[in-house]
Symmetry: C2
Subunit: 248 residues, 2 copies
């Protein structure tokens, strides 16, 4: 069978003869662009421009924009993985899992463009898959069924992903341009909510003050701990932080 289309982008892996460019250079520049101005700012032309080359050259190294994005994600995930693997990981499994999830979250805060892509390619070998394995490995030390373990990792990754999806949504252009303070932008939520009829929106009025000074990380940790406490409960452990301590 003929392959669907030629992909010269598969292996420029051998020693390059004339390495004026390289896959590393391409990925590096791509990450720079992403870091500077977010996902939509990564265009093939812009990337070629930064590399001082033509668009055709970029296509020699990657098969398209989607591929480029995937590789850029994998590229930075390498660093996260190293960070996670630095520690021994001998403590309580759930605590370890928590630490890893937090590390992952911090990486997404630094690079919101990781968005919800960063755990998408777990079908083939790559840093996403290794990360997934690393997270799950902690669960092997818990008394759970494989299905429960699978669900647990999914759940924990899900907490990070949903936070990432939050962080990843580009703020309005006015905020990026600095015309409007981020504080003011977020404060608008609270202002709008307070203007609503309390009879119709009792919950929003209940939480509006808590929301007004909200902190993304705290929010993430709260969600994570709910899940982890559910997990501890499932594994027959004592609950961790955030659970009610006083007895019945």
């Amino acid at each position: 069978m003929t392959p669907p289309r030629q992909r010269p982008a598969d292996r420029p892996s051998r020693e390059r003869r004339r390495a004026s460019h390289s896959i590393e250079a391409v990925l590096g520049a791509a990450v720079e662009l992403l870091d500077e101005s977010g996902e939509p700012a990564l265009t093939i032309r812009g990337l070629a421009g930064r590399l001082g080359t033509g668009v055709g050259s970029v296509y020699w190294y990657v098969s398209g924009r989607e591929d480029l994005l995937d590789r850029a994600v994998d590229h930075v995930l390498g660093g996260v993985l190293a960070e996670i693997e630095r520690h021994p990981g001998t403590g309580d499994p759930v605590d370890e899992l928590r630490r890893m999830a937090v590390t992952l979250f911090d990486a997404v805060v630094d690079r919101p463009w990781l968005g919800s892509r960063f755990m998408r390619n777990i079908d083939t070998e790559g840093n996403s898959l290794r990360l997934y394995e690393e997270l799950g490995r902690q669960l092997l030390r818990l008394d759970l069924t494989p299905l429960q373990r699978f669900h647990a990792v999914t759940a924990v990754v899900g907490v990070v992903v949903s936070s990432a999806a939050d962080l990843g949504q580009e703020p309005p252009q006015a905020v990026v341009d600095g015309l409007v303070e981020r504080e003011e932008y977020l404060g608008r939520y609270a202002t709008n909510w307070r203007a609503l009829d309390p009879g119709e929106y009792p919950f929003l009025h209940d939480i509006v003050d808590a929301f007004d000074g909200h902190d993304d990380k705290q929010q993430f940790l709260a969600a994570l701990d709910l899940t982890l406490n559910g997990l501890r409960l499932q594994a027959g452990q004592r609950p961790g932080p955030g659970a009610r301590t006083e007895g019945p």
Copy 2:
């Protein structure tokens, strides 16, 4: 101050004189396109074509593609909200919350293009905000601080969002075209995983069988129940399904 740009799309709300088109017609057609072929299939030109009109007319009703997408989401969310509000909601608060989350999830299964957009616009009045309120209202009946309530709703919404992000990622074109079975496509994960070195990937080998026959809904419910059990624990309630039953 002059407004940033004129937006005639703000209020075609008064009685239209010649309603050959209407905002309802536009949104209806948009939802049709989205349902048929997913988000990328919704183009302004395509939409205009379906409506038998020009692109300019579309821009009369919406201010751009982003706005169109937001309105389409809000449009279908109206149905979900009605579904959720149909029931009385007098039972256990966490059970009610669970029921709502499941309803929301089911809607996303039906329309994967809701993706992770469907809870994005909670700054202004709209069905997203009402949904958010509806979910949170259940928590008013629990003994929690407002901050805890805020975090809890975020967490529950997060579970739905991350599942939605999973469902929303378009399968490869070959699957859409029916050239490759969805079963086979998913089975590839398991096949690849089994080919990995068990020493390096012990976790993947542990769960691969569980993963192979995995069901999206089951997966969602598992994550949801972990979170909800964490919440019950926080509120001083007895745990629900999925928690270990035998006492110490």
